[in-house]
């Protein structure tokens, strides 16, 4: 017989919601403890950064006004006149960049620990979809302050899409809402950034998290052969969750410090009739692709060099997505080293191209 108010509340809730089953599920879930356990935290950090993005984004929407006459002015108003507006904007931008970084780290850690293997292919696919959506968030959000850099980055970014054979040009015009970057593009990107992408992201994220819960944490290579007594685990609740929360707190504080010490600049208002400013380059997470395209000559076997580059990237990306399938077909079993070498090559390639692009 429940007596205390807390017990009465739990029993009231239990009649309407499977509290006990959830409690049992949380208490049975466990996280492997080994030298690679740190990588388990990056999924949670990415999720936390997404939550920060939603909260700070909602705050920005309270003042932001899309439109070529109002976008830049409203962001300037936020930064200059609204109390703590500069902080909210800087947190949104810093957290966006850290989120993409964290998702990249999460992806590579899953790749190198081979956590994408059967039966976790769907978690891998949805995770990559989330990374793609993150980059789409970054690309669409970058235009919204309607400054010079954003304007030209969007021009170049959408023009790259147009070189893809057959579908490129129609996709570019759909993105731009016309033949050129202008008022229609800004409103489209706003709709994309605050409605279409968040809705899609939330749906895919739900599937991703559901898969993680259904399948449990991936155990490192070789654990299958270990006797139970040699395997070390940490209970998911409360041990792992508390560590997660502590890390989230640290991440939030790091963002606050970055936002205060290095607030994001607004730049100059976009002027479609002006020349592109010197030293223009995309955000760092697009830099490796941008830099790689520069190495393709204008014509390759009579075909447009950029088009060949975009198609090559497309094929590379597809192979990356399909790694659970080609990994399984390669010889070498669980210790398959080809996957490691390919991954290492990709990491070194991305880092090198990014560094060269930054200079």
């Amino acid at each position: 017989m429940a007596t205390s108010p807390h017990e009465r509340f739990i029993s009231w809730l239990a009649e309407r919601f499977p509290v006990v089953a959830l409690q049992r599920f949380a208490s049975e879930k466990k996280v492997p403890r080994y030298e690679g356990s740190i990588w388990y935290y990056f999924g949670g950090v990415s999720l936390f950064l997404f939550i920060i993005q939603v909260c700070s984004g909602i705050l920005l929407m309270m003042y932001y006004q899309p439109g070529v006459q109002t976008a830049f002015e409203s962001v300037r108003f936020i930064v200059v006149h609204v109390r703590f507006g500069w902080l909210v904007r800087s947190i949104h931008t810093w957290s966006a960049n850290l989120m993409i970084f964290s998702v990249f780290v999460h992806m590579f850690s899953v790749y190198f620990t081979k956590a994408f293997r059967r039966p976790r292919e769907l978690t891998w696919f949805t995770g990559l979809a989330l990374l793609g959506l993150c980059m789409a968030f970054g690309f669409s959000g970058y235009l919204l302050p309607w400054n010079m850099l954003a304007f030209f980055a969007t021009k170049v970014g959408t023009a790259i899409v147009s070189v893809a054979p057959v579908v490129g040009r129609p996709i570019m015009e759909i993105l731009r809402g016309g033949k050129d970057v202008g008022a229609a593009t800004l409103v489209r990107f706003f709709g994309l950034h605050v409605a279409i992408l968040p809705a899609t992201f939330t749906a895919v994220l739900s599937v991703h998290l559901l898969m993680v819960q259904i399948q449990g944490m991936h155990e490192p290579h070789g654990w299958g052969d270990l006797p139970e007594s040699k395997k070390r685990y940490m209970p998911f609740f409360p041990n792992f969750v508390l560590r997660d929360v502590l890390l989230w707190l640290i991440v939030l504080n790091v963002i606050a410090v970055l936002a205060v010490l290095f607030p994001w600049e607004l730049g100059h208002k976009a002027d479609p009739s002006a020349s592109a400013p010197l030293g223009i380059k995309p955000e760092w997470y697009f830099l490796f692709g941008y830099q790689a395209l520069k190495y393709f000559p204008g014509k390759i076997l009579g075909m447009d060099g950029d088009a060949v580059g975009v198609v090559t990237f497309g094929i590379g990306g597809l192979l990356w997505v399909l790694v659970p399938f080609w990994d399984a077909r390669l010889a070498g079993g669980a210790r398959n080293r080809v996957v490691n070498y390919v991954g290492l090559l990709v990491v070194i390639g991305i880092m090198a191209l990014t560094v060269i692009g930054l200079r």
């Binding site: 705050l59 309270m62 108003f77 006149h81 609204v82 109390r83 703590f84 507006g85 902080l87 909210v88 707190l249």
Partner: protein
């Protein structure tokens, strides 16, 4: 031996207290900027002291025109006698915009059937207060309205 069970709960309570206080402090430091962020900063030119409300030659006796006074609407009336009067056009009941009714020679709010006379006094319906009145000055052809 007797001290152990006593001391541990005390230390735990103290740590819990510290944790609670820092949690409250942390939540406060997040909520305070958010709360401040929602306050609308004062904007310049929101409340100009005067405005050209209409051109004199466009006005006829027994006519009212709505004009923009900063961010809110005003009502300029030329009475049957040719006298010019100006009021805030924001109904004192629930902020609908009022209009001049030449058929009644009164100021009327359509939202809840509020009625004001030509001095801006609330005479029937729900409006609780008179409409704020403005000062009207004719400068050449311009009818200029000042905040009283």
């Amino acid at each position: 031996m007797m001290d152990e069970p006593m001391r541990n709960p005390t230390r735990r309570n103290f740590l819990n207290y510290l944790l609670g206080v820092s949690a409250v402090g942390w939540v406060g430091s997040v909520l305070y900027p958010v709360f401040e962020y929602f306050k609308i900063p004062p904007q310049k030119d929101d409340q100009p002291e005067s405005v050209v409300a209409a051109s004199f030659k466009d006005l006829k006796p027994n006519q009212g025109v709505i004009f923009k006074f900063g961010s809110s609407p005003g009502l300029l009336i030329m009475g049957q006698d040719g006298q010019l009067r100006a009021f805030s056009a924001v109904c004192t009941h629930l902020e609908c915009t009022v209009k001049y009714r030449p058929d009644l020679q009164k100021i009327h709010c359509a939202c809840h059937n509020g009625m004001y006379d030509l001095n801006g006094s609330n005479i029937s319906g729900p409006p609780p207060r008179p409409l704020p009145q403005y000062r009207v000055v004719q400068r050449g052809d311009d009818v200029v309205v000042f905040r009283a």
